[in-house]
Symmetry: C2
Subunit: 384 residues, 2 copies
């Protein structure tokens, strides 16, 4: 198996891109990534996207984006794993390079969410859940996460405000990320007073939607010949599934797919959780941040919020998370999110994270969650 290196990164801001279409967002990110890599062409393009058919009446994203980005001829496919689509595309592109079938690839994510009404977007997001047994009964995606959070607060006796540090940290970090959706510090008081969305999830527990695209250029490490410094490799790339419907899980407070995919990625990379310098976790809702930290070995069950209360998640903490704003404040353009996470780790490992730089960062992990924990993709990146 060939080792895979990331030699280029590109992104758009996450925001309401009223003047920029789906294809333009994708082409901007690709163009930036190719320029960053010093390349003009690739063998393949893997595109993480969830909702283009429903929201933009556009499938066939592979041909569309290859065409619009000046990469015509290249192999190009869309990959879908709900909110985990971005990292799924990276995972599949990694296998394509590792296999020898391709010598270069763009792996990317793009989502255009803000040109439709909120009810339409909410309905499209609900297709990540079980259509027959969850969504058709009126359960939205945030409602499913609210059920999980409600049970968590009850089971482990946390007060709602004790989960505030996840969002406060994310918003603080986003202040220094020019591509983030929200540049707005929040306080414990803001959090406590935020408008309720689906009890107990309030506005400051939930990540904002947005339009955005992010792209990486992958090549075999063996092709680099010392020309690129530092070398960033994908040391672990793994996924796992859990029941799509929350009510079908043996244990609704345990992200078994996060645990399984992290264990696999740790094994591939030959590391332990303690070796990680940062963790871009999937804080679509604060409850998911807590559960991810527990499933990946950073906290005992039920004790994820303790890390936030003890200031262990900030840039100088034990395990920095959401270092450029996370889903909560960088924003969550669904199918692109997993690629933003990995791109931000590359920035950290290259020492290009500016005010957000984690000093001496050498190993980082990104975890992208599809559905309410049903499809989870975990990557470990290393600076060689």
């Amino acid at each position: 198996m060939r080792e895979v290196a990331i030699i280029g990164i590109g992104q758009t801001t996450v925001e309401e891109h009223w003047e920029t279409s789906l294809r333009d967002l994708a082409a901007h990110a690709i163009s930036a990534a190719l320029t960053n890599a010093g390349r003009e062409m690739v063998d393949g393009i893997f595109i993480g996207n969830m909702m283009s058919g429903m929201l933009s009446r556009q499938e066939s994203l592979g041909a569309l984006i290859a065409d619009w980005s000046g990469l015509l001829g290249a192999e190009a496919f869309k990959v879908e794993a709900a909110c985990g689509s971005g990292a799924a595309a990276v995972h599949i592109g990694t296998m394509a390079i590792a296999s020898g079938y391709m010598d270069s690839a763009i792996v990317m994510g793009v989502e255009k969410m803000t040109e439709r009404s909120m009810p339409e977007v909410t309905a499209a997001l609900a297709t990540a859940a079980d259509a027959d047994y969850e969504s058709d009964h009126g359960t939205t995606f945030v409602a499913l996460n609210a059920l999980i959070m409600q049970r968590y607060l009850h089971e482990y006796k946390w007060k709602h405000t004790e989960l505030a540090p996840f969002s406060i940290n994310a918003h603080e970090n986003a202040m220094h990320n020019p591509n983030a959706r929200l540049h707005e510090r929040i306080t414990l008081e803001d959090y406590a007073e935020a408008r309720m969305i689906a009890d107990p999830i309030n506005l400051l527990d939930a990540s904002p939607t947005g339009d955005g695209a992010a792209a990486l250029v992958l090549v075999p490490l063996e092709s680099l010949h010392g020309s690129i410094v530092p070398r960033i490799v994908i040391a672990g790339s793994a996924a796992a599934t859990d029941s799509i419907a929350v009510h079908d899980r043996r244990d609704g407070l345990w992200l078994s797919a996060a645990h399984a995919s992290a264990l696999k990625a740790y094994g591939q990379a030959g590391i332990q959780p303690a070796d990680l310098d940062l963790f871009e976790l999937h804080d679509a809702f604060s409850i998911m941040a807590a559960l991810s930290l527990e499933a990946c070995g950073f906290a005992e069950r039920g004790q994820g919020p303790r890390l936030g209360l003890d200031s262990e998640l900030g840039p100088k903490g034990r395990i920095p998370v959401a270092t450029r704003g996370g889903l909560k404040a960088r924003g969550h353009p669904v199918g692109a999110t997993g690629v933003y996470q990995i791109l931000e780790i590359v920035q950290q490992l290259r020492g290009e994270a500016g005010e957000n730089q984690i000093e001496g960062a050498k190993i980082g992990m990104a975890q992208n969650i599809g559905g309410s924990g049903s499809n989870i993709v975990t990557h470990v990146l290393k600076r060689l």
Copy 2:
């Protein structure tokens, strides 16, 4: 790179499965393929599907289908390349096994089309074309193919009825395929008198929609240890893209992505077109059959129909096509079609094609076309 073998196949019939949901169709095909392979679990599942979000309000097919098929935990992703989604899933699964990231995989396709109204299905199919520059102007998918066929008849001076042999052959072959959508011989007269859909495409130029699922089990060839006979390997697996919009092509009568992906697959397999014993081509419309034969080296430009008129496409002809009915008569459940094609080649190479058996078949090719030729995936299979 590890060689990849196909050790199991499973399919549902292609029809209007009123009583069977999307997830059930998928689970039936997976279950049949696993039984055929003598396996119970796999490392990964790659699902070709185009329209589940739009027609069934269900994305996250990876988790859904892993869950419903009793394969929970396995990695699972949906792959989309319009009508080429099925073969795209096979291609990606092949790379996953070749890379060493996975030691077994289900590659499959599933599409549920008949529970929605025809206008809804037509609109969903149109998302394979360019939303901004084709579909939004009212051009349906069949209309785009009609433009190509009109130009082809004009340019090469064929009479419409001279393209009839493609459909007559496909319908004849489907008579012996119990999984085919249509069991109905047609004559030249039937063809000539068929109802016009989008001039010059009539009802007997066009493949029927349908519900269906097909699945294959892939493993590394090196893992077989002589236990399975005959051994069928994926000797070539390649794709290419062309402009998504038909009007953007330099030459609207040349499938450049079919040509490029076939050349790549021939090279990987070390064969010439003349070495092929059969060719499962993408006869969604008769014009696509003609253009595929030309792009893949079986006829000079503009001369594809000649092969049909000379009876070279039947089971005993120079290059048998649509040997189990093709898209025209086996049916075209969009995202599943590419997997049906490859499955049917496995049947031929195993000698399990019954009345349709191509004697001594050792090498077969399947070509799956996404959009109006914008994303094309070609596979060459060999019996060792």
